[in-house]
């Protein structure tokens, strides 16, 4: 039994060079970004309820949005913010946007610019106001309970907020019919404790996958009416609004990589079992 030959295919697969895995992972991420596969996405009830809330409000209702994240959480939160904002524009709701994180405003500005190209009739100071960032965290939230124009004397673009048409009807947290917050940390706790609970405003949250477990207890306690969690939630919202975009293709990437890892692990285990069988057979033959 002089079989000291090249390792078999099975053995080579089990010792697969890690660089091949890296290349496959990179391809599995990049290809769906270029050509979205459109894998089916099942909408979960907690995303559906955020959608239903915005959908069922009468046209022209007041909605407050807070974007409390920075570029590090952009892959997950930006796509969901964009599709929620698009939904609000379609329903002709009035929108006020605040930011509690210092590095967040540029992302919101970028999102507004992109949506304005889709909906040129969407007008600043009439349909929406972008209040920008204000230091203070929880204090800002307490303060918007009093007035937006007092807390944010100037909007993001440096215009005075006092006297804007939208501010005349919508100048307080309490006047909001709904609030959506996008959270990469714990600012959402403040919104719930100091804001929406105090003024009895229903609120839904878009959160990163990492902080999602922190927010689910609020959902159970009905302090949040819905949660859009991570990329998956963003993709579900894109499906609901019928505009597949970044999150949908990113979700395809996710599925591809997960499938790749899954298949690789299953194959490796089958091969390893086969190898054990082979060795046993060889041992028996040698006896």
């Amino acid at each position: 039994m002089e079989k000291v030959q090249k390792p078999s295919f099975i053995e080579r697969f089990l010792q697969l060079d890690r660089r091949i895995i890296y290349t496959l992972v990179a391809l599995a991420v990049a290809i769906p970004l270029l050509f979205p596969l459109g894998l089916p996405i099942k909408v979960t009830p907690e995303v559906q309820s955020v959608y239903d809330m915005i959908e069922d409000l009468p046209e022209g209702s007041n909605i407050l949005m807070s974007a409390d994240f920075d570029p590090a959480s952009m892959p997950e939160l930006y796509p969901m913010m964009k599709s929620v904002m698009r939904h609000i524009i379609r329903k002709h709701h009035k929108l006020a946007i605040t930011v509690l994180w210092p590095n967040g405003p540029n992302l919101v500005a970028q999102c507004i610019e992109e949506l304005k190209q889709e909906y040129p009739e969407w007008t600043n100071t009439v349909d929406y106001v972008f209040l920008g960032y204000q230091v203070g965290g929880a204090i800002v939230i307490i303060s918007v309970g009093d007035s937006f124009s007092g807390t944010f004397p100037k909007d993001y673009y440096g215009e005075s907020t006092d006297g804007m048409p939208i501010i005349k009807e919508f100048n307080q947290l309490g006047q909001a019919d709904y609030m959506v917050m996008f959270e990469a940390g714990n600012s959402g706790d403040w919104w719930i404790v100091y804001g929406t609970e105090v003024h009895d405003v229903p609120v839904g949250g878009g959160v990163t996958a990492v902080v999602a477990p922190m927010y689910y207890p609020y959902l159970q306690a009905k302090q949040l009416n819905g949660i859009i969690g991570g990329l998956k939630g963003a993709a579900e919202y894109e499906k609901l609004t019928d505009v597949p975009a970044l999150a949908t293709s990113a979700m395809d990437s996710q599925s591809m990589v997960h499938a790749l890892i899954f298949v690789a692990i299953v194959l490796a285990n089958i091969f390893a079992l086969m190898l054990v069988g082979q060795k046993r057979r060889q041992a028996r033959e040698e006896m």
Binding site: R18, I139, I142, E197, V198, D200
Partner: protein, 455 residues
């Protein structure tokens, strides 16, 4: 040394007695409230620690268009367990309370105002049960404690409008207003209270008792270990690997890389990691291998230098110590990781030690280390990163084992005694969990409240 421990132990006992007496003196206030005559009318459930209790039926002088319910009595008192910046309004649920009813609390400097609104809430919110820290549930024997489920509203006032904190020792007057469908009705009495600071936080009584209990157990077993140094401690698998890895590095003539984790010295796992570093340094010095320790925290750097130097000195090789081998990289998580990966790929250490606390970068480090073929030994209590250490390292000290290893390696009877004490505390805890679960299954629920952390 012995005397120091004794002195310390007696000091602790005295302090605890003091604190307990403080606690109970406060308790006695609570249990024997000087009930004003009016409280009799209010019913049997007079509220504890109240400065003023008024029990008049709301005067119905003018009948409003909508019948706004009012609570039958209201009390205002100092907020317990605080630093003297809060007062608290308590009142029993009014008859006929609905969701639409709103209560508004206003504060004034005198009985006639001027009034500042400090809070307004619907009648479905702000229950006494939710105010855990100030009214600890484990004092279930307190009056008004049992069976109060959502019967008493409790509103704490710690700020005036504009976020002005209340001042200690100043009397504040409080007005309660109920509103329903646009109609308002004031509670007929204006009540007052004075914020006072407390010197013992009854909300943490259970923490203190457990701290003393566990602390005393550990100290007792340390004292016992001094008399009988042959305590049995089972072998911790993975510790032999430490010696093996050092030996292999020496054979191969390659350096050893030791990381103390990503956290600062405020984190106890960093101290455990540094303890193990001391032992590793002593052995490395015997074997004459090179020990590289890149650090992330400035203070950890200085302590690590001191420890390695001591290890080399103990091994009789102070000349082999080179302070430049224990160096600082940066405090930024990922540039630290990149630099350590660079060291791994270029110096190709034969053994990598990852001890202490880690964040997401853990897998970058261990995968790069695995690709260079090093023996990798990890020890961490970072539960989010444990899965990655367990799957990519040759040996992993899981959670408590990290601390045990630092004690085990020292082989000092005193430290081993503390391991024994730790085990006794564990037995106590397991027994409590089993008893508690059984009791709760048979309907005795208060047992759980004894172990509630109230923040």
């Amino acid at each position: 040394m012995k005397n120091l421990i004794r002195l310390a132990a007696s000091l602790v006992v005295v302090l605890i007695l003091l604190l307990c007496s403080a606690a109970f003196s406060q308790e006695s206030d609570v249990e024997l409230p000087e009930e004003p005559a009016a409280a009799e009318e209010a019913g049997p459930e007079a509220l504890e620690g109240a400065d003023i209790i008024i029990g008049l039926e709301p005067a119905a002088e003018e009948v409003p268009a909508v019948e706004v319910p009012l609570p039958s009595y209201v009390t205002v008192s100092d907020l317990p367990n605080d630093d003297g910046t809060g007062i608290v309004v308590e009142f029993e649920k009014a008859e006929g309370e609905t969701e639409a009813l709103t209560y508004t609390v206003s504060v004034g400097a005198g009985p006639d105002g001027p009034w500042q609104e400090v809070g307004s809430f619907p009648a479905t919110k702000k229950w006494k049960e939710e105010a855990g820290h100030y009214y600890p549930a484990f004092f279930w024997f307190q009056k008004g404690r049992a069976g109060v489920s959502n019967n008493i509203h409790l509103f704490t006032i710690q700020n005036l409008s504009g976020n002005v904190p209340l001042e200690t020792g100043v009397e504040y007057f409080v007005k309660l207003t109920a509103s329903l469908d646009g109609a308002n009705r004031d509670y007929p009495e204006i009540l007052s209270a004075t914020p006072e600071e407390q010197w013992f936080d009854t909300g943490r009584t259970n923490v203190l008792i457990l701290a003393v209990l566990f602390g005393a157990t550990v100290l007792y077993f340390i004292a016992r270990a001094r008399r009988d140094p042959n305590l049995f401690i089972r072998k911790i698998s993975g510790l032999d690997a430490v010696d093996e890895a050092i030996g292999r590095a020496t054979e191969m003539g390659k350096p050893i890389l030791y990381l103390n984790g990503m956290s600062s010295l405020a984190d106890l796992s960093t101290l455990a990691a540094l303890n193990i570093l001391g032992r590793v340094a002593r052995r490395v010095a015997n074997y004459e291998s090179k020990l590289t320790v890149p650090c992330r925290d400035p203070i950890v750097l200085t302590v690590a230098q001191e420890i390695v130097k001591a290890g080399y000195t103990d091994a009789g090789r102070p000349d082999a110590y080179n302070a430049d081998d224990i160096f600082f990289l940066t405090e930024d998580q990922f540039s630290y990781a990149a630099a350590v990966c660079g060291i791994m790929m270029r110096d190709k250490p034969a053994a990598n030690f990852f001890m202490g606390y880690y964040y997401a970068e853990a897998l970058i480090l261990t995968e790069t280390g695995a690709s260079t073929g090093a023996i990798q030994i990890a020890g961490t209590d970072a539960s989010t990163q444990l899965p990655f250490f367990v799957t990519t390292c040759d040996y992993t000290l899981i959670g408590e084992e990290l601390y045990a290893a630092s004690a085990y390696l020292s082989r000092e009877p005193l430290v081993l005694g503390s391991l024994k004490g730790q085990d006794m505390a564990k037995v106590f805890m397991m027994v409590m969990i089993i008893i508690g679960t059984l009791l709760m299954t048979f309907g005795v629920v208060f047992i759980k409240d004894l172990f509630k952390a109230l923040g």
